[in-house]
């Protein structure tokens, strides 16, 4: 019996996600037709921008294998946002806020990468640890209080809407996903990521710098979380120490739902993007239906278990 998994058609995953998405929208339409307005679409896309960036980081870390996972993404988002705001309070010129958030994210991600590649700590454990450290630090530094004082020019960008589509979505999320897709499909780097994700030993034998690549990918995940932190600042107008809450769960769900194999080496970013849209639509719908946030988290969690189960079963059947 040939148990080797063929590359799954990304088209299949996209079709399934689109179908699910339509079902969610139809159910919402029946339950609460008033939900649908341009405003709702804008809100969904605004939330999507943040989750999309974080989920992309999660996806590439998982794709590169070696039991890769980044549970600290939510912590990185919270702490980068707080770090940027605090740096401004300490006298950083406001035009340097965007690079400050990104650099903070990169440093926190690189720290994860060092734990995983240099100290050989299991990614699940390493990033669980840094998740507590980063989110705890964000709370400790602020005493839990939101940090106000986001420069107004940043708000203009962050809250700008261009024919119903939020400007950050247009200027960050879409270009970043396009670049990620191109790099994964059309460059040698992309092939290396797939190769090391699927069979690390053979990747090492052919001379792919596996550890360096992995360190870079964890750092990139941090950069993307830092960018998400910046967008949250530019949108909400203040730095909240718990802004990244539950992002690890949601990004993981989006990556899995989008067809990234949990063991690495399989999947693409298009599916992740579609999965983010589906998840945010679902969450927004639940919010509009006045479903308790505790339940929302529960539903996302259940979805994650379901996707992993489906992945597992499809593996056994093939």
């Amino acid at each position: 019996m040939n148990r080797i998994r063929k590359l799954q058609g990304p088209a299949l995953i996209l079709a399934l996600l689109a179908l699910l998405w339509i079902i969610v929208i139809l159910v919402l339409l029946v339950l609460k037709p008033s939900v649908f307005s341009l405003g709702t679409v804008t809100t969904i896309l605004q939330f999507s921008t943040i989750l999309a960036l974080v989920a992309l980081g999660q996806a590439i870390v998982i794709l590169a294998g070696g039991a890769g996972i980044d549970l600290s993404v939510g912590g990185i988002v919270s702490l980068s946002a707080i770090a940027g705001m605090l740096a401004m309070k300490l006298g950083l010129p406001s035009f340097l806020l965007p690079p400050a958030c990104i650099i903070a994210g990169a440093a926190l991600g690189a720290f994860n990468g060092v734990l995983v590649t240099k100290l050989s700590i299991l990614p699940l454990i390493a990033t669980l640890g840094t998740f507590f450290v980063y989110s705890g630090l964000a709370l400790a530094l602020t005493g839990g209080a939101a940090q106000s004082g986001v420069p107004s020019w940043l708000l203009i960008w962050g809250r700008g809407v261009f024919s119903g589509i939020p400007v950050p979505f247009l200027t960050i999320a879409i270009p970043v996903f396009a670049i990620a897709g191109i790099v994964l499909m059309w460059t040698a780097w992309g092939r290396w990521i797939y190769a090391m994700g699927f069979n690390e030993r053979s990747a090492r034998l052919v001379g792919i710098p596996v550890d360096r690549a992995r360190l870079i990918l964890y750092s990139l995940s941090g950069v993307l979380s830092g960018a998400a932190a910046l967008i949250s600042l530019a949108w909400l107008g203040s730095g909240r120490p718990n802004i990244g809450q539950n992002l690890e769960l949601e990004s993981l769900t989006a990556a899995m739902l989008g067809g990234i194999a949990i063991l690495g080496g399989r999947g693409g970013v298009g599916g992740v993007f579609a999965a983010v849209m589906l998840l945010v639509t679902l969450k927004t719908g639940l919010l509009q239906l006045n479903v308790n946030t505790v339940w929302q988290v529960g539903i996302v969690g259940a979805l994650l278990v379901f996707v992993l189960l489906a992945d597992r079963l499809s593996q056994n059947w093939r």
């Binding site: 460059t187 699927f198 069979n199 030993r201 053979s202 052919v206 792919i208």
Partner: protein
């Protein structure tokens, strides 16, 4: 006879107190298939790991085309033109044939420092190699996960060819294959030698060795106990070398 591609002189390998190899002298010639035979634990794999740069030798020297070399990693050996096909092959099943052949040394076009793949060129080159090997694989873009064991060996051999390897080492390439696939891999092995490569083949299958090898070397307990041209020996003699029943081996072992 031409000058040998590689000469091993007095190679020894000790793992702590255990002597896995001692005093092995061997010449490896281009265009020739050299078979290494020997019982389990005779030191065959240890020897090729030294050739492949995976182990340093405890003693002795390797000379490639008259120049002494010292390998500290498989990369050094590859740079010297030695490609090793390990039994587990080291292919990425999620990538295509041509991606595997070029993995780690892709043909690329750099745009702003980003290495974009030249897929068409890679495909064409692999197509040529597969044709040359007569490997019966029509589509270089097929995922390696969909290939049979023999076809995978062909891809691994393609990879070695693409590295411009001068010496290809194969550790039990047919151990996991059925009859028809074994035939194909043996034919590929011959074709490699005809292209002017030196080939070292490890096998436990004597009839297979007699079919494909030009020269046969037998290892026993870490020593080279026999070296014969195929035309000058027969399976019975080789078996007696392997088991130690041959008078020469007895004499050798008594002397030590």
């Amino acid at each position: 006879m031409t000058a040998p591609f590689l000469v091993a002189k007095g190679i020894a390998k000790r793992f702590g107190a255990l002597t896995a190899l001692s005093g092995v002298d061997l010449e490896i010639r281009s265009g020739e298939v050299l078979a290494l035979l020997g019982d389990n634990g005779a030191g065959k794999s240890t020897f090729i790991k030294i050739l492949a740069g995976a182990h340093p030798a405890s003693d002795g020297e390797l000379v490639i085309e008259g120049v002494p070399v010292a390998f500290s990693s498989p990369k050094d050996a590859a740079a010297a033109g030695i490609a090793t096909i390990f039994q587990e092959l080291a292919l990425s099943e999620n990538l295509s044939i041509s991606e595997n052949v070029f993995l780690g040394r892709e043909l690329k076009r750099s745009v702003l420092g980003v290495p974009f793949l030249r897929r068409a060129d890679m495909r064409q080159r692999v197509d040529g190699l597969l044709k040359e090997l007569d490997a019966h694989i029509s589509d270089p873009e097929a995922p390696v996960g969909s290939l049979s064991g023999g076809q995978r060996q062909a891809v691994a051999i393609c990879r070695a060819l693409n590295l411009n390897a001068r010496l290809v080492i194969m550790d039990e390439p047919t151990a996991a294959l059925a009859v028809a696939e074994t035939r194909k891999v043996l034919a590929l092995t011959r074709r490699l030698a005809e292209r002017g490569c030196a080939v070292v083949l490890i096998s436990h299958n004597i009839s297979e060795v007699f079919e494909v090898a030009d020269r046969i070397v037998v290892f026993r307990r870490g020593r080279k106990v026999a070296e014969r041209l195929r035309a000058e020996t027969n399976p019975e003699e080789i078996v007696s070398f392997i088991t130690g029943a041959h008078p020469d081996v007895r004499a050798l072992e008594k002397a030590n």
